[in-house]
């Protein structure tokens, strides 16, 4: 058997089924890889004892013939998902010592299906960021480097730890969350597959809240089939989340490899933004050609309000965040900093517990919700949100799915966008519309830049139509044939 950490999730499950190796062996191989990859800073916490215990229990289940769909598969968990008895920091000093006494619904479903937890993955603080640089645990380093360069690149954000760990073979798949692009942009930057399902597919219960009307969980994996497998376990109705959809979970894997002949693919002209690198434009054209070759019909569509999506998002998301993060007052859980009275205790706690980007967003959110600005900003943004959602509704009369680039560039260097918040926000220009409209969006690796860095394409689907995205993505994955992995330079330093 070749390296166990090079296997896809599907191949690993097949190997476990055919008894080529045990879950303990598979898990140990990943724990060893994690140990030698600490230079990437992908994991905030490794949980080797728990992992080996879960793996051993899985091997017992498999021997007795009652293995679940993910039984024995070692996964990484974004440190935004509450895990019972295992510290959950959300990348913040505020929750440095927080140990949940409960398990998030999404992770509990992974364990129900037999998966093994390797540890908690790094992220931007409270999932606010596009480069992982806002994490209290420090930035994750992208396993990919430009050809002939040792410059440290961002893995994207906020699910940077998830994406880097999957790309570097430090888990078979990882959970992630996406509020404005936090699954898809890191997937594009690391040559991995990421899907944000329809809003309501995955329960938000037990996931540290950022912007509740936009937050959705989804997987990051190395293949389209793996993403379908993992999403099947993560999704499903949960009475504990009032926005969770009470609908059966389709067999997403069954859509992988299905014919896409006759599907109409929309190409939105507004996504040809100024200053988009020629190679991303070329990749997009290539993606269109692959789908045409597979029998799809390509139609130009218009999403006229696209350019207003990001500014609307930067009202809606901070407004919801300022409200959600009001709970961090130092009284019931999390950090408490001393103060001479109650108000000062609140103010000092929040000043010390939150990092700069989180504070900035709380201030913006508080400002746009404050008296005199509520209608001018917040209600205005919600109206624009309706316009963006309507744009998609009319697009669906012309097409069955939409193809766009995932991000406006390849991975950039750590520190490159740190001084200009708006430049950083522009990373999500192609992904954020999908959150505002609650649609499913999938990013898949489609090629490499001239510098040898991964580039992604995004497929956007109708509500609840993740299945079509998996069919289209598997066709494109085959055509793109991006089999290259990052060079494991990080092992040299250990």
């Amino acid at each position: 058997m070749s390296n166990l950490t090079d296997l896809t999730l599907k191949a690993a499950l097949d190997g476990l089924t055919s008894k080529q190796f045990t879950s303990v062996e598979l898990t140990q191989a990943h724990l060893t890889a994690m140990e030698s990859a600490r230079a990437l800073n992908a994991y905030i916490a490794e949980t080797p004892e728990k992992a080996l215990q879960m793996a051993a229990a899985s091997d017992v289940r498999r021997a007795s013939g009652d293995a679940g769909p993910l039984d024995g598969a070692p996964l990484g968990i974004k440190d935004l998902f509450c895990t019972e008895g295992v510290g959950t920091t959300a990348g913040s000093k505020m929750l440095a010592n927080f140990k949940p006494t409960y398990e998030s619904t999404v992770t509990s479903q992974l364990w129900r299906d037999g998966a093994v937890m390797l540890g908690k993955l790094n992220l931007d603080e409270f999932a606010m960021g596009s480069s992982n640089e806002s994490s209290a645990s420090g930035p994750v380093i992208n396993p990919w480097r430009a050809i002939g360069s040792d410059r440290k690149l961002t893995p994207g954000g906020s699910s940077g730890g998830s994406a880097a760990a999957v790309a570097a073979g430090l888990c078979l798949g990882a959970t992630a969350t996406d509020t404005g692009g936090s699954i898809r942009q890191p997937a594009a930057f690391t040559g991995t597959v990421g899907i944000k399902p329809t809003y309501g597919r995955c329960s938000r219960w037990g996931i540290v809240a950022f912007a509740s009307s936009l937050d959705q969980a989804g997987p990051i994996t190395r293949t389209v089939e793996d993403a379908a497998l993992m999403l099947g376990s993560m999704a499903g109705h949960d009475p504990k989340d009032s926005t969770s959809l009470d609908l059966p979970v389709p067999d997403f894997s069954a859509f992988v490899g299905r014919s896409v002949k006759g599907l109409r693919i929309g190409v939105p002209k507004e996504y040809r933004v100024d200053g988009m690198p020629a190679e991303i434009e070329a990749l997009w054209t290539q993606g269109i050609a692959w789908l045409k070759a597979a029998g799809c019909e390509v139609v130009e569509i218009s999403l006229p309000n696209t350019k207003y999506a990001l500014p609307a998002y930067y009202i809606v998301a901070p407004a919801e965040a300022s409200s959600n993060l009001a709970r961090y007052d130092g009284m019931r859980f999390g950090l408490r900093a001393a103060g001479s009275n109650l108000t000062e205790t609140y103010e000092n706690t929040r000043a010390q517990g939150f990092g700069d980007e989180v504070k900035r967003r709380i201030l913006i959110g508080t400002y746009v919700l404050s008296h005199g600005y509520y209608d001018a900003y917040y209600i205005k943004a919600l109206k624009v949100r309706r316009c963006i959602s309507d744009d998609f509704d009319s697009a669906w009369t012309q097409c069955d799915a939409i193809l766009t680039p995932t991000a406006p560039s390849a991975a950039f260097a750590l520190g490159e966008n740190a001084s200009d918040p708006v430049a950083m926000y522009l990373n999500d220009v192609f992904t954020v519309t999908v959150n505002l409209a609650g649609l499913p969006g999938l990013s898949l690796p489609a090629g490499l830049s001239s510098e040898g860095l991964p580039l992604g394409l995004q497929l956007i689907g109708k509500p609840l139509d993740e299945g079509t995205l998996f069919s289209l993505a598997s066709v494109m994955e085959k055509a793109a044939d991006v089999s290259q992995r990052p060079q494991s330079w990080w092992r040299a330093s250990s």
Partner: protein
Amino acid sequence: MAIDVATVRKVARLSRIAEPEEVLPALAEQLNGIMQWIEQLAEVDTDGVEPLTSVVNQGLPLREDVVTEGGDASRVLANAPKSVGGFFVVPKVVE
């Protein structure tokens, strides 16, 4: 409508975040940059458009009004910065 130092001071106070005086000018500049960029929303004609508050096309679900879980104070208090005898301990609120 530009955000000045006084506005940042007020918003920081509303947000219960202690921001030292010396950082307020830089913060005001940053927030102004972001809000100026957001101002482009004014270009969108939203007359007669209903605000979109939820993308979920279902009513809020109801359930029986019964106790489903609870009665476990130790779990609730497990992460409290300070607790005594089954209660959260907070700074003095009433003088």
